[in-house]
């Protein structure tokens, strides 16, 4: 469904953030993108919905090359791609409900959105989603009153109400505690399964990625150095992605956590 063909991004400073990335994501597949800071994870997902303009290459969503779209067509294409952010990126001074409904901005006209006159079907869906993530009672709270985990749930609702084919998820758990991180990851993967959504999840917590996703892609210096099952991430592979470190502990820890997870 999503195909990246030699996608390249060179920043003005001359830094090559992405070096001819080739990647295929089939419909409904959730994959984790791991790699050290500065490996180009964030740049890669931003090049797909063109919050960052790629320098060359193609990004095909259902056969449409996103990199060549004009302003209007790009807006319509962005509706198909929901995005979830590291620091939630909610509009802090708007209510939870307004934040969720803002996911429909690509579908409603300016005045309707300005006057908050969203179609009834949109508000119905917003309530349904808030109920699904357990925040229905918070609908009228201002976003800055919520805790980190709650904000990220609102962010998830905002992405899903777009009715996307693909989720682009940028470090969803980096600002959250370990327990909330797992809950959020579980919620994202569950929702993707329910809706048969594909997702690219940037994440630097290897253990967390291994726990929840069926496919892991490792990025280093803008190149894919690993693509396969989470179980295939041996210490050698992790060294290749992140550099020299004692990886045994990380991998053992995952198994331990899996057991406690099962026990819960």
């Amino acid at each position: 469904m999503l195909q990246l063909r030699k996608l390249t991004k060179t920043y003005k400073t001359g830094d090559q953030a992405l070096k001819a990335i080739d990647l295929d994501v089939p419909k409904g597949q959730v994959l984790a993108l791991i790699g050290p800071s500065g490996a180009g994870k964030s740049t890669m997902i931003r090049c797909i919905n063109r919050l960052v303009e790629p320098t060359s290459g193609e990004a095909l969503l259902d056969g449409v090359d996103l990199t060549k779209l004009g302003a209007g067509a790009l807006r319509r294409a962005r509706r198909e791609m929901g995005m979830i952010f590291q620091e939630y990126a909610l509009v802090e001074r708007l209510t939870v409900m307004e934040n969720v409904l803002s996911g429909r901005l690509g579908y409603v006209g300016f005045w309707r959105s300005f006057l908050r006159r969203y179609p009834q079907s949109d508000t119905d869906e917003a309530f349904r989603l808030l109920d699904r993530v357990g925040l229905l009672h918070m609908a009228d709270k201002r976003a800055d009153e919520l805790s980190g985990g709650q904000r990220q749930r609102v962010g998830i609702c905002r992405a899903l109400i777009q009715n996307p084919k693909l989720l682009l998820v940028d470090e969803p758990t980096a600002s959250l505690d370990p327990k909330t991180s797992r809950q959020i990851m579980r919620l994202i993967t569950e929702l993707c399964r329910e809706r048969d959504l594909a997702a690219i999840i940037n994440i630097h917590d290897v253990a967390l990625a291994q726990m929840f996703v069926p496919r892991v892609v490792g990025l280093r210096f803008g190149e894919i150095v690993y693509d396969g099952l989470p179980t295939g991430l041996t210490p050698d592979k992790l060294t290749e992605i992140y550099g020299e470190e004692d990886w045994e502990a990380t991998i053992e820890k995952v198994e331990d956590e899996d057991e406690t997870e099962a026990a819960e």
């Binding site: 990126a89 803002s102 901005l105 690509g106 682009l168």
Partner: protein
């Protein structure tokens, strides 16, 4: 940070000896310049008037007290005009300042090479000329009266409001803008959802702050004939009616205190 060893202990000083000397000479030079300036000012001062000042001040004080309280009946209308000049001027200024601010902010300007310098020029030019001078110019163009005062205040405030507002726009959290862009929102929707909610508190703060300043500025506009209580002040000064002058000053003081109180309340309510 110099560190040197003496008797096997490491001694730390904030500055090296050389840096200390440079600083010492810097202060000495400052002192010399101050003394020199003092001499020049002293030489060109007519000291007779300075020694005479307490006597004259005392003389004016005795003439000005008590204030002529019954004159207050004639001041209601002018102080109302003054308030209106300040309020209307501020409102007009805000309407003009918002687009200028969006054109001037680095992250929202449509063109950094052409439009941004133009917007900055508007900001600098309106800010650099005092409202009293704007009023003088406008009286020549549109005649004396309250209207000239309103426009003078409005023009003078545009730059101030636009400058503070565009700084607020430049300081917004970019990720919220990104998030709204990523939903497929149009340029205007990104502005309404991603930017405006973030700058609204700053906008309200700027509005009341400028209104507060404008009340003080509009009290003197009458001195050049642009309406308000300044007209009464200048008339009273011209005929040396000191008890009236003192009453006008009291009225202005009260108006300013009230406006400060209101703007403090409003700002408190926003934050």
């Amino acid at each position: 940070m110099p560190v040197f060893e003496r008797d096997d202990t490491q001694i730390w000083r904030r500055r090296t000896t050389r840096e200390n000397m440079i600083r010492w000479f810097g202060w000495l030079a400052g002192l010399v310049v101050f003394a020199w300036c003092w001499q020049i000012i002293s030489a060109s001062t007519t000291w007779f008037f300075v020694w005479d000042a307490p006597r004259i001040a005392n003389d004016i004080w005795t003439r000005a007290t008590p204030p002529r309280w019954e004159y207050i009946t004639q001041l209601g209308r002018p102080i109302w005009d003054t308030l209106n000049i300040a309020t209307l001027g501020t409102i007009i200024a805000l309407f003009l300042a918002v687009p200028v601010a969006f054109l001037a902010a680095q992250n929202t300007t449509p063109s950094k090479l052409l439009i941004r310098p133009l917007a900055l020029l508007i900001i600098v030019s309106t800010r650099s000329i005092n409202s009293l001078i704007w009023a003088l110019l406008l009286i020549a163009i549109i005649g004396p009266g309250v209207f000239a005062g309103v426009i003078a205040i409005a023009i003078r405030s545009v730059g101030f409001c636009a400058k503070l507002l565009y700084e607020a726009i430049e300081e917004i959290d970019h990720s919220q803008v990104e998030a709204i862009t990523a939903t497929g929102g149009s340029r205007w929707q990104v502005m309404a959802y991603g930017i405006v909610p973030q700058i609204l508190p700053a906008f309200a703060g700027i509005a009341v702050f400028r209104w507060d300043i404008n009340i003080r500025e509009s009290t003197v506009l009458g001195l050049v004939g642009a309406g308000g209580i300044g007209l009464q002040l200048s008339a009273s000064l011209n005929v040396l009616a000191w008890p009236q002058v003192s009453l006008i000053l009291i009225v202005i003081l009260v108006a300013v205190i009230i406006s400060e109180w209101v703007s403090a309340k409003v700002r408190g309510a926003i934050i």
